[in-house]
């Protein structure tokens, strides 16, 4: 008798548990970013008119992208993180502090980025000068196309940076 009850109890529990797991998975998927959000295309930026040491901010997947034509007299000019576009060296990165995601401001006279939230600082190649940020500004996937750059697509130059361990 109690074996029978045990069995029914366990069978009921197992089915209800399966249902609960399914519901949990559905709930998880409901909170996932929508396909339309994920497919938020690629951004093409024309760099032919960029002035040296002037910060340009573009938008890519809802995030600000820093674009800076690094001046030849800048200490960061030889940094391996810089990207060669049509003979000029550019710093391109997601403009969010790697500490907690604030947008650092660029100070052209000091040649560095300063984050107002927690005081982090980066040089003109995005390397950390002062913590709390734990890592350099993140370089997004990109592809160089003449004097233009396509954000969101991993081109050969990006893959080279990956091999060099500069980007994840």
């Amino acid at each position: 008798m109690s074996d029978r009850r045990d069995f029914f109890g366990k069978a009921l529990g197992a089915f209800a548990g399966l249902g609960a797991l399914g519901a949990l998975y559905a709930a998880k998927r409901t909170w996932d970013p929508l396909p339309s959000v994920k497919a938020a295309g690629f951004t093409t930026v024309d760099l032919s008119k960029a002035e040296p040491n002037v910060l340009y901010t573009e938008m890519w997947r809802g995030k600000p992208i820093f674009i800076l034509k690094v001046a030849k007299d800048d200490k960061a000019y030889s940094d391996k993180r810089l990207i060669n576009v049509g003979g000029d060296k550019f710093f391109i990165a997601i403009g969010l502090c790697t500490h907690l995601g604030c947008i650092p401001a660029y100070f052209p006279d000091k040649h560095k980025f300063i984050c107002a939230c927690h005081g982090g600082q980066f040089d003109a190649a995005g390397e950390v000068l002062k913590s709390p940020p734990p890592s350099p500004l993140v370089i997004p996937p990109f592809k160089v196309d003449g004097k233009k750059v396509v954000l969101g697509e991993a081109g050969p130059e990006y893959k080279k940076l990956q091999e060099a361990g500069v980007v994840a």
């Binding site: 929508l34 600000p64 995601g101 604030c102 107002a116 939230c117 709390p132």
Partner: protein, 410 residues
């Protein structure tokens, strides 16, 4: 088999009693729920919190009728529609905003009262734990509500707090994007935090309030001397007419009348703030619409989160997160870290007395340092205060172990 008198008039006292046991309910829930006499106004904070939650609920219902959870319309639906078109919309908004801020002040007073009088041990552990769960859910409720006007502070606080879930160098970017439903806070984020704020969190909070009241039932509330009262014996005295000799009073109407008096004073101050000084609960930065391309020069949370924010701030990223996590959970462990058997006010518990006041002052210092920009001497003070906070909790078991048994005063 229950007995139903066929001659009882519908909805008469007898008729209701036979169907719902209203007399028993009233006794159990109010007229024979016993409260010690030896308490002070600090024991009224619980009912003040319940009343403030009621105000938040009612004002929230009215705000809900015009609020639009849309990234393009939310800001105007609050700052234009509710504030200048809806009749008395400003009243609901200011009541909601001020209550949301003041409720945390009362929560902190309520908590520190409990810590001071040792009202978290010897049978009262569940009161403390359910109260801490309420603190966490109120924090989630406050944070999700802060997102809704979709101003600059809403947006950037949302960005910074959700980024915490990447857990530092573990870099769980996928988890952060899952919480936001997007790469950055956007429509999906606003909608789900709206849902959390108006439905899921209030439901959980209401359930926890019931649980919190329930946890009080058996151990009863503490008293000013931490005296162990035989509630049954004292209740018998009261019921036998020995009201002077009895150490307890019934919750209703005796204790409640004292509660209502304290509550009246509280509401005078509260409505003074609502009508004349609501601006302290309204950050001017949040009157700029959210702009994903421009971080405000200085991001800080509302005052009630400043102390834990300041524990996060002075450290590098990963240790900062660990310290922050520590600060979030450590209060839960209070009943287990306190190794002393004494239930007594802190004034009579020697080393613990110092511990209590240092903790209180340290949290005030952390709160102030969390507000000022992280530069120069402020950074130093903040770092020291953060370390003091951590050390206080690490040393608590030792401090309480050293304590001698407290002799009961009469």
């Amino acid at each position: 088999m229950a007995h139903f008198d066929p001659n009882a008039r519908p909805f008469s006292h007898k008729w209701m009693n036979e169907r719902l046991a209203v007399d028993t309910l009233q006794k159990v829930l109010s007229t024979e729920y016993w409260i010690p006499k030896n308490i002070n106004f600090l024991w009224a904070m619980g009912m003040i919190l319940a009343a403030t939650f009621g105000i938040l609920l009612i004002s929230g219902i009215f705000l809900l009728m015009y609020y639009i959870p849309d990234t393009k319309q939310a800001f105007d639906s609050v700052n234009y529609t509710v504030m200048s078109e809806v009749g008395y919309g400003w009243l609901w908004r200011h009541m909601h905003g001020v209550a949301a801020s003041v409720v945390f002040l009362i929560i902190y007073i309520h908590m520190f009262t409990g810590i001071y009088y040792g009202s978290y041990k010897k049978g009262r552990e569940m009161i403390w734990l359910s109260g801490m769960l309420l603190f966490v859910t109120f924090s989630a409720e406050a944070f999700s509500g802060y997102m809704l006007p979709w101003g600059q502070m809403s947006y950037w606080a949302g960005m910074v707090i959700t980024n915490l879930f990447s857990l530092g160098s573990l870099d769980f970017q996928g988890l952060v994007e899952w919480i936001r439903g997007d790469y950055v806070p956007g429509q999906a984020f606003l909608n789900r935090f709206f849902m959390l704020h108006v439905l899921l969190m209030p439901l959980i909070i209401m359930a926890l309030i019931v649980l919190h009241f329930g946890t009080l039932r058996i151990p009863h509330v503490n008293n000013q001397d931490g005296e162990e009262i035989d509630f049954d014996a004292e209740a018998q005295k009261w019921k036998a007419g020995l009201r002077k000799e009895s150490k307890v009073i019934p919750f209703n109407p005796v204790f409640l009348s004292k509660d209502v008096f304290v509550m009246s004073i509280y509401f005078i101050i509260y409505f003074y703030l609502v009508f004349y000084h609501f601006e302290f609960a309204m950050d001017p930065v949040n009157f700029d619409p959210a702009n994903p391309l421009k971080t405000p020069p200085h991001i800080y949370p509302e005052w009630y989160f400043l102390w834990s924010y300041e524990i996060l701030r002075p450290f590098p990223k990963d240790p900062g997160l660990v310290a922050f996590g520590f600060a979030q959970v450590i209060f839960f462990l209070l009943p287990f870290l306190d190794r002393s058997p004494n239930v007594a006010p802190a004034s009579r518990r020697k080393p613990f007395r110092c511990w209590f006041w240092i903790l209180l002052v340290d949290m005030i210092v952390l709160t102030i340092m969390g507000k000022v920009p992280p530069v120069g001497v402020y950074t130093t003070i903040g770092t020291v205060a953060a370390w003091v906070f951590i050390l206080l909790w690490v040393t608590l078991p030792i401090v309480t172990k050293l304590e001698k048994p407290v002799r009961r005063s009469k």
